[in-house]
Symmetry: C3
């Protein structure tokens, strides 16, 4: 029962999982964290969010897609109080990234931790192409 | 690469995300919390669960769907001990909402917090139409 | 708006949810925990991970599928430090289960707890057939 997958592998864990797997019209994406070009994460949540979406856009671009293709996102944050305190800044910056009122479903929960203690947010998206 | 999305926006965050996004036959839904018609959440978990599913049904109805269309649900709860202590009541009430043995996959985890400290449960569903 | 679901019910909660729900080409799977044939979970994380994937394979097999069909997985773990300390062993064992470089997207977060205090990991997969 072979299915045709299109894969995008990248980053230090490229042998372990894919950043994106497309099957049919659906693109399943790995959760993206807020690392910058040096591999470190900015101290602030808004900065990390921007970096995470930059990774999302990189994955999308590998499949010829853009933020318009995202249909669902789950935010895993490590500090909901900080998130809600900055919700205006966060969603303003996110709105600029989407370039319109985001046409996506969203779920937002606080987890205990992400894979590195410096990470404050991980964004898992599903896109349709 | 334009895709055709059907959107349902509602509630105080309607500019920020959609309660439901349909593409093709799949309906991605935002996580639903247990607020009642006043916008507040009942004190008890079973009451919040019922409210959350009422929101799920509202979103489904916007797309001409019912609980029969739900295929996958993830429960994010803030107190697994309370959840398991009330598991009989919870699943009895949920069974009434589904009106049959639920034909859905389920995942249940305890997170640290949801977007408001009063929220005890958030239910994220995927439906197929 | 009837949709055709193929269901796999199993285990003590078979009346409450399905281990797998197939609609069209997509198989939505319940989160799988690391119980062994006795219903108990091994003490160690690597052992639990292997048991969880064994359940994943059981669900897949019910639909005529294998690990090759998995496109997305979310790991909910209860101790990220323990997870990262054992990441080499975990991913080596997982690589053997997949039998190749896993062609899946992955998300990994630490939650507070799973449905039983003995559970250290829950793996939620989506497969395409």
């Amino acid at each position: 029962m072979a299915i045709e997958k299109k894969l995008f592998r990248d980053g230090p864990y490229a042998d372990l999982f894919c950043q994106g797997v497309r099957v049919g019209d659906t693109l399943y994406m790995a959760g993206q964290v807020g690392t910058d070009e040096t591999g470190a994460a900015p101290d602030d949540l808004v900065g990390q969010m921007k970096c995470a979406y930059a990774h999302v856009e990189t994955v999308l671009a590998e499949f010829g897609a853009t933020m318009d293709n995202v249909v669902d996102e789950t935010w895993f944050v490590t500090d909901i109080d900080d998130t809600m305190a900055k919700v205006g800044d966060l969603f303003a910056a996110r709105g600029e990234i989407y370039g319109k009122k985001p046409e996506v479903a969203q779920t937002l929960v606080q987890v205990v931790a992400l894979v590195d203690p410096s990470f404050k947010i991980e964004i898992k998206c599903v896109a349709v192409l």
